[in-house]
Every structure is written in C-alpha cells, then in structure tokens.
Amino acid sequence: MVVDEHILRIEPDGAPRATILIVPPLFEEANRTRRTLVLAMRALAAKGFAAAMPDLPGQNESIVALEDADLALWQATLAEIAAGIDGPLLVASVRGGCLIDHRVEAAGRWRLAPVGGSSLLRTLLRARVSADREAGVTSSLESLSEMAQHEPLLLAGNRLSPAMIAQLGAAEVQPVNPLRGVTLGTDGIAGAPLWLRAEPGEDAAMAEAIAADIADWSAACDVR
C-alpha cells in the first residue's frame, strides 16, 4: 500500500525523544479542533517530541475523493504511516480518531474523549434531515439510512460511500494496551469540548494540558 498524504510534522530542536502520531477527530470535528491540536503539537516539540498529524485520505489536502474512503482505509493508512516513522512512537487520538487508531504499532496509546461511530453518524444524518427540512424536503434518519445502503450520501458537506456509512454506524472504540484514556473535566483535561462548537475556537491552555498529559504518559510507557 502506497500512502501519498501530507503529514504536518513539528520537530523539536535536536533529536526527538519519540514521535507522537496525532489522529484527529473525524469530519467537521477535525476542523473545529485543528488549531488546538497544532498548538498541542508545538507544545510537544518544546518538550523534545516530534509530533506528526497526517491528512486522512479524502480529508484536507488529500487527492483521494472522500467518497472512495472508508474507516478500513483510514485504519490501514495510519498503520502504514506509523510503520514509516523511525524511533519510538506513541499514538494520541481524539474523539472519532479513536475509532481508527488500533491497527497502528505503537509503544502506547492516548485517547481523549472517545466517541462511538453511531453517535457521529446520527449527528451527520440529523444535519442532513435538518438542512432538508429548511429546503422543504422531507427526509428522516430511516429514509436516509435506507438510501445509504445503495448510494453515497451527502451529509453535512461530506460525500460518504455506503461502505463508510455502514462502517461508521457499527464502529466502536477497540481495546488496546497500553492505553491512557482521558476525558474532559477535573479528572482529565480542563477545557470545553471544542469539537462540538458551531464556530471553531481555540484553547492554548487546553493544548498545554494535552501535551503535558501525553508527555507524562510517554514516560509511563518507558518512552523517554
């Protein structure tokens, strides 16, 4: 498998202690969190880590059409990209990114606010129902799910294949080891769920907290 996707890499001064492969949330949630995740990558570089965030096929600068992508392709692509990275590797995934990170070979995994695929799909289908209603068209989660078995659907600007929709609807976070699972709040990372926000924001303090937590976890995984 040949992977031809852009990878945003932020390097530390000197040789990296390890590389952190960042797997962003999926679809619109990726745009809403990108600024903060890149700030976290910069903070990781300041701590001596290299940080890499690839485009998933069909997203951002990819030359693959989103309609030709599905979760299996994203999982395989990440595994391939990880295999090409020298030195110790940790994977840090956010939200829907946690659904596609388990095929990567890594010394450890870090997951922030994982979400089931069915919940993501429900929101995408509802956005379509809501947009249809505004346009005077009647649709429902059921009628759209039925259509999605035979033809691609345009959901909130994403043209998704029947395979993608079926895989997303069934996708659950897979058990991996070693894993640090992190949520938002007093026991985890302080900050608001930026991935839900209608208009993208950014949070430098949250980015610092993410980087600090990943750095601590890398030490626990014996990646120093």
Binding site: L125, R126, A127, S130, A131, L141, E142, A156, R197, A198
Partner: protein, 89 residues
C-alpha cells in the same frame, strides 16, 4: 423548580454553551423567551444536529425524528419543556 427540572435546565445550558460557544454568562442569562434557531447566528442545521445528539448522551434519552418540529428550537423555554417531558416520560 424540582431537582430533576434544575438538573435538566443546567445540563441544557451547559450543552448550549459548549455547542454555540456562548460562554457561561450568556448561557446563564438565557430565559424562557430567549430565541434560539433563527435568532442566534451560531445555531445552524449542524448545530441543531449536534444539540440533539448531545441531549441524548447527556440526558440519557432517545429522540425520534417525528418528535422534532421547528417549534422546539424556537425558544429556550420550548427546548427545556421538550427535554423535561422526555426525561420524565
């Protein structure tokens, strides 16, 4: 207000603050008559979808398509009344 009503009210304000980026002060200042869809520019069809899914997750309810009409999102009061009805059903 009963305990349940107070909890649902707080949950709803928090999720609107998260999704619409209102900030705590604006979320706390919402009244029964505060307009939502059509009034708040951030409240687009994607935000409506996100609000429904977050309501299900945070309130532990399931919302069917045919329960949704435009009125629910007209005002904060309407959304609160709908949520309370779902939680106590």
């Amino acid at each position: 207000m009963t305990d349940t009503a107070a909890t649902v009210d707080a949950t709803l304000r928090a999720l609107l603050a998260d999704i619409l980026g209102l900030g705590e002060a604006r979320a706390a200042a919402l009244t029964e008559d505060s307009g939502l869809f059509g009034e708040l520019p951030e409240f687009d069809s994607m935000a409506v979808a996100t609000v429904l899914t977050e309501m299900e997750d945070r309130l532990g309810i399931v919302i069917d398509d045919d329960e949704i009409d435009g009125e629910i999102f007209e005002t904060y009061g309407n959304l609160l009344a709908f949520s309370l009805r779902k939680v106590t059903d």
